[in-house]
Amino acid sequence: MAWSGTAGRRVLVTGADTFWGGRTVQALEADPEVETILGLGTGTPSVPFGRAEFVRADQTYSILARMVRATQVDTIVHTFLIVDAAHASPRTLHEVNVIGTLNLLAAAGGDDSPVRQVVVKSSTVVYGCAARDPQTFREDTPRSGSPRTPLERSLVEAEAMVHDFSEDSPSTLVSVLRFANVLGSHLVTSLSRNLSRPLCPSIAGFDPLLQFVQEDDVVRALLFVTRNRIPGLFNVAGAGRLPWSEVAARCGTRRVPLPPVAPTIPLAPLTALGVVPFPPDLESLLRYGRGVDTSRLVGAGFHYHYTSAGAVQSFAQSLRLRRAAGRLPTSYTYEHDVEQFFRHSPSVVRPLET
């Protein structure tokens, strides 16, 4: 099946109940070229969808192959890779990142597959984080050592499968975006949770340089490669790098130095209680930091709205608002029956399709 100019695109978004999936669905709904949007998730959506439909599935997406055949989607946007191991066991990481991707690619592959593009939201975690690393990773820079944390392992494995898939399926465009650490006004990660407290961890004697991408740029980048059908492997990160000390200062938090040897031990009780999220990947990041080269995506025509410092700034502003006005109340709860009613009941008056 070739791309048709007039008929709209049919897009399936995985992880539609997560932050990224939800935002991607919302962004796709605003795009008139997209005809159908299907959201697949394991929970319930946290944001209201307009015309998109939500389908609940198990976390390994075993239902996906059937769905792809039934709905004839031409694009799959895979936002469901876990890139922050704070609340995920190694087992979950494997199930979601490796088995989930495996099922997704199996569903998208095959001779009779309607899928023409697969977009994968990955992370710069795949580069690892070690003293031997170069200061800047290009998309083709190899890791300086083998993966050390369960998160790295699962992402490296998932990306390897995506790579094999793109070689085996020349008729399908494969876009893999590796995002740097994300900051913004809404997203909650282990890094942002640490920065939003009065005290945040650091490793004594280390002040690494970090690179950030703002959450809106993340969704814009996903949409950019989807809309313009750009295949390839891309780093996505704001320009510039900031030392951890500067990030902490901008967010109004004081750094608590942990011992350079076994820094996780004094934190262990707090980590176990879930008070301080400190996944193993954060430890090496707070030692050596990570930087990526973003010229490939910029060369493809993408314009960032935020630099690294700008991403930190937007996060700091949202923190100030939250400290002054408190958390904004949750404004939306997903009710399956209500959503189905508005989408499918004959009683609902719908504007005529043009």
């Binding site: 932050f19 935002r23 191991a85 003293a131 990660t189 950019f224 320009a239 510039g240 949750t330």
Partner: protein, 287 residues
């Protein structure tokens, strides 16, 4: 799922077509650049180091004008001494005279040492990785300083002073070729007497996970102070003519043969220059 955010009802504004490249807000509160170098820290280091440079080592340069005042260049020098003073002296001298930053490349081991790694980075140190060197030289047209002998030179004992070790695998030549920049050899004399290594303790090094653990003459003469304080040997530095390799830049591979040959030529040239300088040197302390 871990990255589940708080609910948001906003639709992301889609401004995909905007070709307008208004400058983005990039306000910073520190002057740390992407290499971790801070000009403020560097200026402070220069102020503190200047008395050492002028009064302690009384460094004297010959041929400073051969160092390019613009564009990338790879500075290559001989190395020595338990805690080598050649790197700070070369960086200080060039920055003082030419006003150009010099990025000193060293073993990534420094990065793993708390505080030392951070200070080293803020003061213009960069881990010696081929990608880092290429980025500095080619993309940013900076001066990078390398010691191709690496720790083989700083670990050698006093009787081997001024005998240059193997120049690695010639990686520095390959980087200069790839980046299309000249190699500028710098011969340093005086450094080997500033902190001579008498012998090494490999067991201690293994336990402390250090590349080597030297016992220096300074330690015997000054006690604990001698761990960091060098002797006031007279430093003489001679800049040789820049070497431009007649090959196209940005090639996937360069002839290993040619690379090794050029590396050996640079090594021999530096070795010969150092012997010449030693022939003319009357005193270790007064030059």
């Amino acid at each position: 799922m871990a990255t589940n955010g708080r609910p948001s009802t906003e639709v992301v504004p889609l401004r995909l077509q905007d070709a307008a490249t208004e400058p983005l807000d990039d306000r910073r509160s520190s002057d740390v650049d992407e290499w971790g170098r801070s000009e403020r820290v560097r200026a402070l280091a220069r102020r503190l180091y200047d008395p050492v440079y002028t009064s302690w080592f009384r460094a004297e340069w010959d041929g400073m004008e051969k160092i390019p005042t613009e564009g990338g260049a790879l500075l290559v020098a001989n190395h020595g001494g338990a805690i080598p003073s050649d790197a700070p002296v070369i960086m200080h001298g060039i920055e003082k005279e030419l006003g150009r930053p010099v990025y000193g490349m060293a073993h990534y081991f420094f990065r793993t040492v708390p505080l030392v790694g951070t200070l080293w980075s803020r003061a213009g140190g960069v881990p010696a990785h081929p990608d880092n060197a290429y980025r500095l030289l080619h993309d940013q047209r900076q001066l990078a300083l390398v010691f191709p002998e690496g720790t083989k030179a700083t670990a050698k004992s006093y009787p081997d002073r001024y005998r240059l070790r193997r120049f690695g695998r010639g990686g520095f030549v390959e980087i200069a070729m790839r980046a299309g920049v000249p190699v500028v050899p710098i011969a340093v004399v005086g450094n080997e007497e500033a902190m001579p290594v008498l012998f090494r303790l490999p067991t201690v090094a293994r336990v402390l996970r250090l590349p080597y653990f030297p016992v220096t003459a300074n330690m015997l003469a000054m006690g604990p102070l001698g761990v960091v304080v060098p002797f006031p040997a007279k430093f003489r530095l001679k800049v040789l003519d820049p070497i431009v390799f007649d090959v196209p830049p940005d090639q996937e591979r360069y002839s290993k043969n040619r690379v090794m040959e050029e590396a050996e030529l640079v090594r021999a040239l530096l070795q010969e220059t150092i012997f010449d300088m030693l022939r003319d040197r009357r005193s270790v302390w007064f030059g």
